[in-house]
């Protein structure tokens, strides 16, 4: 089988840089990381200097994600040798146990870390992940809420909590989490758009108007966000169709909806292969499924 460097005609430095980029952007492209990382370590390990340790960690986690326990163990053993008392490495041992579904042992590892260092956020988050993996959503939510009381700035945790709430259909609380995220990340169009989706799902005129506003905001931040564009169209159409709104509100929302529809149609028409079914023609198509799902 051809090596990564052969297939993509890259040198070891590029492979190392790619791994760094994926690390920094927190990508979960585990299969790729395993392919590139495994080759980098085995063929060019000596050239990596101190970088090799963080690469071992990255590859180990990716290996767990791909059920490559052999590779994960190799990386872990190297890290254990180099950093025998490290909590960071102990956490990796715990993660390996999680991957093997040995949750009780994994929890013991994390409890041991927390015993020595109660502020170790990584261990706490792993314990919450175990609850999630075991399907114990209520406990996971409770623990995550407690965690956030202490570590209120942890974006990743707020986002995780919003996802957990969405899965439990607790849209009000999910919205609250997204509000926290929007406050600290005002330029992030994805948070705006997710917030708008949650509001839309909650339903009711007030929530629909909020959802329309936030879809519009997401578009302002990124005018290529198709979800926001469709969301704007749908929320505005719904509001315009509501018997409870004034004539002015109806007219305004029909304008917004029709603007959004024209933008959508333009985007699809510009595709080389113009496919009829992808066009948003009029509100009638859509009212077919207008009852809130």
């Amino acid at each position: 089988m051809a090596s990564v460097s052969e297939m993509y005609d890259v040198g070891w430095e590029e492979m190392r840089d790619k791994l760094r980029k994926w690390r920094e952007d927190n990508f979960r492209n585990s299969e790729q990381i395993v392919d590139v990382g495994e080759e980098l370590i085995s063929e060019h390990g000596s050239k990596l200097g101190d970088d090799i340790w963080i690469i071992y960690e990255q590859v180990m986690i990716a290996a767990l994600d791909c059920s490559r326990d052999d590779l994960a163990l190799t990386c872990l053993q190297e890290l254990r040798k180099q950093f025998p008392d490290s909590h960071r490495v102990k956490r990796l041992s715990g993660m390996r146990l999680e991957a093997l579904e040995r949750y009780d042992e994994a929890n013991k590892h994390y409890d041991a870390i927390l015993q020595e260092d109660p502020t170790n956020t990584a261990a706490r988050k792993r314990k919450i992940s175990i609850l999630k993996a075991q399907g114990k959503s209520t406990e996971a939510i409770r623990e995550l809420n407690e965690y956030l009381e202490q570590f209120v700035g942890d974006q990743e945790a707020w986002h995780e909590l919003s996802e957990l709430y969405i899965n439990e259909h607790d849209y009000g609380k999910a919205a609250f989490c997204l509000e926290e995220l929007m406050m600290t990340n005002p330029h992030n169009h994805l948070y705006c758009e997710q917030y708008a989706e949650v509001k839309y799902t909650q339903g009711g005129l007030e929530n629909l108007e909020l959802s329309r506003k936030y879809f519009a905001q997401a578009l302002r931040l990124n005018n290529r966000n198709m979800r926001a564009l469709f969301g704007l169209y749908m929320s505005a159409s719904h509001i315009a169709a509501s018997p409870k709104v004034s004539a002015k509100v109806k007219k305004d929302n029909m304008k917004y909806a029709s603007w959004a529809a024209s933008q959508i149609n333009r985007a699809y028409k510009s595709l080389k292969r113009f496919v009829k079914h992808l066009c948003v023609t009029n509100a009638i198509n859509y009212i077919h499924f207008s009852n809130r799902i």
Binding site: H169, E197, M226, A267, Y268, H288, S290, N291
Partner: protein, 205 residues
């Protein structure tokens, strides 16, 4: 309730959808190009989401778009499938039931199909699916003997082969389409490949 037949194309695309997003819950719609009455033949599927399944806007949008496409291509929506992120739990979630209810409003014999992640490994010889049908306003387990997968061994082989060769990376679901509208959620390319791999003797896949 009557028999349900699941075609190779529908099964393989569902399977590839689940393989493409192993860490997420995924869902999609089951379609039929056969006329109503008698057995329900699921001839195709449209993969929908791999994130935020319970949220309404994109689901509504997708249902509308697929519905329009179906009316243009003589197909109808006859069911819904879902695979949960948590492999140990393959029971239908509230959102699965809601969407399936919606579909059942338009089609009496609608089916709700859950993919059982724990049975998707290569050594499992049985289809990793659990099907539900609507009886007395509730979704109940369908009798396994009423579920047919013609040429199961071949279907299974095709699914496995396509996954091995990385074809699942080509699968486009509605979520992916919204990230890049040049991608085709009807997955014509994959349909062609599946047809090519299916044995020439079996014309009806």
């Amino acid at each position: 309730m009557g028999e349900v037949e699941l075609s190779c194309r529908a099964y393989v695309k569902m399977y590839l959808h689940a393989c493409l997003f192993p860490r997420c819950s995924i869902n999609g719609l089951l379609l039929s190009s056969s006329s109503a009455g008698g057995a329900v033949c699921v001839t195709d599927c449209v993969p929908l989401l791999h994130s935020h399944l319970p949220l309404a806007p994109i689901t509504q949008l997708a249902l509308t778009q697929v519905d329009v496409w179906c009316s243009q291509t003589q197909q109808r929506i006859v069911g819904y499938y879902q695979a949960n992120a948590c492999v140990s739990d393959s029971s239908p979630t509230p959102c699965a039931l809601k969407i399936a209810d919606k579909i059942a409003e338009q089609f009496d014999s609608a089916v709700l199909l859950m993919l059982d992640g724990s049975k998707m490994s290569p050594d499992y010889r049985v289809p990793p699916i659990v099907m539900y049908e609507r009886k007395d306003s509730r979704w109940t387990l369908k009798d396994k003997h009423m579920i047919m997968l013609r040429q199961w061994e071949e279907t299974r082989a095709i699914a496995g082969q396509m996954m091995e060769s990385g074809d699942h990376m080509q699968l486009v679901d509605f979520d992916t389409h919204l990230d890049d509208i040049t991608k085709d959620w009807t997955n014509q390319k994959l349909n062609t490949k599946i047809a090519e791999l299916a044995s020439p003797a079996n014309g009806n896949i």
